[in-house]
């Protein structure tokens, strides 16, 4: 074979993109950093795990079912979610994690030369997926650590197809209330699809947090993302979902991948809908962990940011990437935030009590050595 020139076949926007490299598995990290145990506080996982009903599903699962394909579009789960939120099942689309749902939406509405609008310091996957799809990400600076509605509106132009609003925002935990989101949708006036990514919505206890499903009835350009990875403790099974007005959902369904959500995820998620005891227990854990982290921040003289969600950020007096490594060497993995455009900040997930204690002890030592 003499005619294979790879570069000729690869679009420029793919050539220009740097592949994301996930961290290696724990056994490799433990060996490389010379540690016996690693507390992961970097992925905003739920230390309580999934609700009891999910555990039961997982425990009694018949391994022989691994030979079977799942039902192709999550028939039962879509109906359970629709019933919970007053939607029609056809408005609900499932994905292999919310990341896949982001890809469905970008594929449905964007072509090369279009743009998406989002914040500069938010969940990175909107920017990445747009970039390697040939779609320009327009990044609007946060204001006071929150999405800036006026600046977002100014960034919309004739080629804007999607606007991603991470609410509550990862990593700052800032959020828009119902009235603000409604005003924003009025101002957008249907010029683009507005995606409210509510991956952390179940952590919001304030009654003013948006009822986005209700807003969808008045604003058919509103799409809502949810996930089973955070509150519901199913991150390892990879399942997320979106809801949209019927005609919008029908469009996204064209670019969605049937059969991409596995059997176990479908069944476990269905069992999770909508376990209020699990929500209460998780919120209680998060509240206590936030209070303890706040006390640690106060003792160390560190600014802390994060109102909603199972995480918070700390501002460090030294480079976050250095602290990340030095914590790793003490068996704790938090998230260095330079890559989120928050240089000098560290994001900490509210893990188990043991992990949080390990983090507190390690951070005190690391900062004392700095």
């Amino acid at each position: 074979m003499n005619g294979f020139a790879l570069d000729r076949l690869v679009p420029a926007h793919v050539r220009a993109f740097e592949a994301y490299v996930p961290s290696p598995p724990d056994d490799v990290l433990r060996r490389r950093f010379g540690i016996a145990h690693l507390h992961r506080l970097n992925n905003n996982e739920n230390p309580l795990g999934p609700p009891a009903a999910c555990r039961e599903i997982l425990a009694r699962w018949d391994p022989r079912d691994a030979a079977l394909y799942p039902q192709g579009d999550g028939w039962h789960l879509r109906r359970a979610l629709a019933a919970r939120f007053g939607l029609d099942a056809e408005q609900v689309i499932l994905g292999n994690g919310a990341n896949e749902v982001i890809a469905f939406v970008i594929k449905a509405f964007c072509e090369p030369g279009d743009n998406i609008v989002t914040a500069d310091r938010t969940f990175a996957v909107y920017e990445w997926l747009a970039s390697f799809s040939g779609v320009a990400p327009r990044l609007v600076p946060l204001r006071d650590d929150g999405f800036d509605d006026a600046a977002l509106l100014r960034a919309i132009d004739a080629r804007t197809r999607l606007l991603f609003l991470c609410n509550p925002n990862n990593p700052t935990g800032s959020w828009w209330d119902h009235a603000r989101l409604a005003r924003f949708l009025d101002a957008v006036d249907g010029r683009c699809i507005v995606v409210a990514d509510e991956a952390y919505a179940e952590f919001a206890e304030d009654p003013d947090f948006p009822d986005s499903f209700a807003l969808m009835a008045r604003h058919p350009n509103l799409v809502v993302f949810r996930t089973f990875s955070k509150m519901w403790g199913l991150a390892g099974l990879r399942i997320g979902w979106m809801a949209a007005a019927p005609e919008v959902a029908a469009t996204v369904r064209k670019t969605s991948i049937s059969y991409s959500v596995n059997l176990l995820a479908l069944e476990a998620a269905r069992a999770a809908v909508w376990d209020v005891e699990h929500i209460a227990a998780t919120r209680a854990h998060v509240g206590a962990a936030r209070a303890r982290l706040g006390a640690l921040a106060g003792r160390l003289g560190l600014k802390m940011v994060g109102a909603i969600g199972n995480f918070a950020m700390l501002h460090l007096p030294v480079a976050d990437t250095v602290v990340h490594r030095r914590l790793m060497a003490r068996g704790v993995m938090a998230r260095a935030m330079t890559s989120f455009r928050y240089p000098g900040w560290l994001r900490v997930s509210f893990g188990s009590d043991e992990a949080m204690e390990a983090f507190a002890g390690a951070l005190e030592v690391v900062l004392a050595e700095a």
Partner: protein, 420 residues
């Protein structure tokens, strides 16, 4: 300027028969694209010598000439990497009967900068750079009463960037990168320099920070050039420049920033010290700032360096599997490239081709450049590439010592240094 993809190119069989054709192609392209005759003739000679020295095993040789504004670059791509190109190493003894070896030697001497990298499908790319000269000129001094910075630093337009460089040059601020505005503009246009500049309310530059490619995934930071007087505004300016640079660089290919010669004003707390370079004052720190989390990786070291590297890995809390490098596949033919800065009396050596005689070649290179009067010797080894480890022994024998370990999970860079 020609981009990577649209550069004129010509593919020829290797060997002396087509050497003159290659040289004429280079002259023709240079004439058509306005490259000055002095550079065109040197490039044509390089092309001729390399083609003539190319063995039949090269299968095919492709020439591409690019005007990169501050430099002209000739890429010579061989379809096969199984070549004896040891003649490129300037330290090798020349046998006048060995025409190919002498030709490669001449080509290497003619170039200001020589690099090698793998090309697609098992090939090898040699890059020869010739730097453009810029005439000296008087630079204007900055006006009195520059204002406080307003807004976040920007990626400046050409006029603003030129003004910053002129004013920094007049004040002696920022270091060598902030000299000769025309060169800086050309470097930026070629994608070899990036800038952030802070402006006052009248849109005048009050400070700047530059970065330039350094190795595979790093950037070397230069500056800051600060035009404000000492005080809180100047401190805030330093912070804003670095934050702006970091924000512009993240989520891309760059993994970290290296500072080999920090200009006054650089805020040390934003960096970590990854070693020290010797100088007349007894040494200065090498600073590093990672942009991404370091998930650990493999570092390949020569036995002589294992303890030093292991110590640095511990001190920097790096997660590394430290491995002994396997012997190189080639028995002989190792070569190093040399980047010289005659004004500073400095030479930096990098492995070009690895072979079992790497240690002897490294030692000979140090001796060669010492003999030419260079007082500062540096060498850079990529510890992510097992074949680089073989050069370490010779560098140590020649009196270089490990100076800094610049972290990169895909391949730490080991900087060795010595002063005369």
């Amino acid at each position: 300027m020609t981009s990577e993809d649209d550069a004129p190119r010509l593919t020829l069989p290797p060997g002396v028969r087509f050497a003159a054709v290659g040289a004429e192609f280079i002259r023709g392209i240079a004439a058509a694209t306005g490259i000055e005759a002095r550079l065109a003739e040197r490039m044509a000679l390089i092309a001729e010598e390399v083609l003539a020295a190319s063995p039949a095993t090269a299968v095919a040789v492709t020439l591409a000439l690019r005007d990169r504004r501050h430099a002209v670059r000739l890429d010579v791509v061989f379809a096969s990497a199984e070549l004896d190109l040891a003649g490129l190493d300037q330290s090798r003894d020349r046998d006048v009967e060995d025409a190919a070896g002498v030709g490669l030697y001449l080509a290497a001497r003619l170039a200001d900068h020589l690099t090698t990298e793998p090309a697609g499908r098992g090939g090898l790319r040699l890059g020869f750079d010739l730097a453009r000269a810029y005439p000296a000129r008087a630079v204007p001094a900055p006006p009195d009463g520059l204002g406080m910075p307003v807004g976040t630093p920007v990626d400046p337009d050409d006029a603003t960037l030129a003004l910053l460089v002129d004013w920094a040059e007049a004040k002696g601020a920022g270091g060598p990168a902030f000299r000769t505005a025309a060169r800086v503009l050309d470097q930026r246009a070629a994608g070899d320099l990036f800038a952030r500049v802070a402006l006052d309310a009248r849109r005048r530059p009050v400070g700047g920070l530059f970065w330039q490619p350094f190795g595979r995934r790093l950037m070397a930071l230069a500056g800051p050039a600060l035009l404000l007087p000492e005080g809180p505004a100047r401190k805030a300016l330093v912070e804003a420049l670095l934050d702006s640079a970091l924000a512009g660089l993240v989520r891309g290919t760059v993994q970290g920033l290296v500072v080999l010669e920090a200009a006054p004003g650089m805020k040390r707390a934003d960096f970590e010290v990854v070693g020290h370079l010797p100088d007349a004052q007894g040494g200065h720190p090498v600073l590093f700032r990672a942009l991404e989390e370091d998930p650990g990786g493999i570092t390949w070291v020569a036995p002589e360096l294992r303890d030093w590297v292991a110590g640095m890995v511990r001190r920097l809390a790096l997660g590394r599997d430290i491995e002994a490098s396997p012997p190189p596949a080639r028995a002989s033919g190792a070569a190093m490239a040399a980047e010289t800065d005659r004004a500073a009396g400095r030479v930096t050596l990098r492995p070009l081709l690895a072979a079992a005689d790497a240690a002897e070649v490294a030692e000979a290179n140090v001796a060669l450049f010492r003999g030419q009067g260079f007082s500062q010797m540096r060498a850079l080894l990529d510890l992510g590439r097992p074949e680089h480890a073989g050069f370490a022994q010779g560098l140590l024998r020649a009196g270089l010592a490990p100076a800094a370990l610049i972290p990169d999970a895909a391949g730490d860079l080991l900087l060795l240094a010595a002063t005369a």
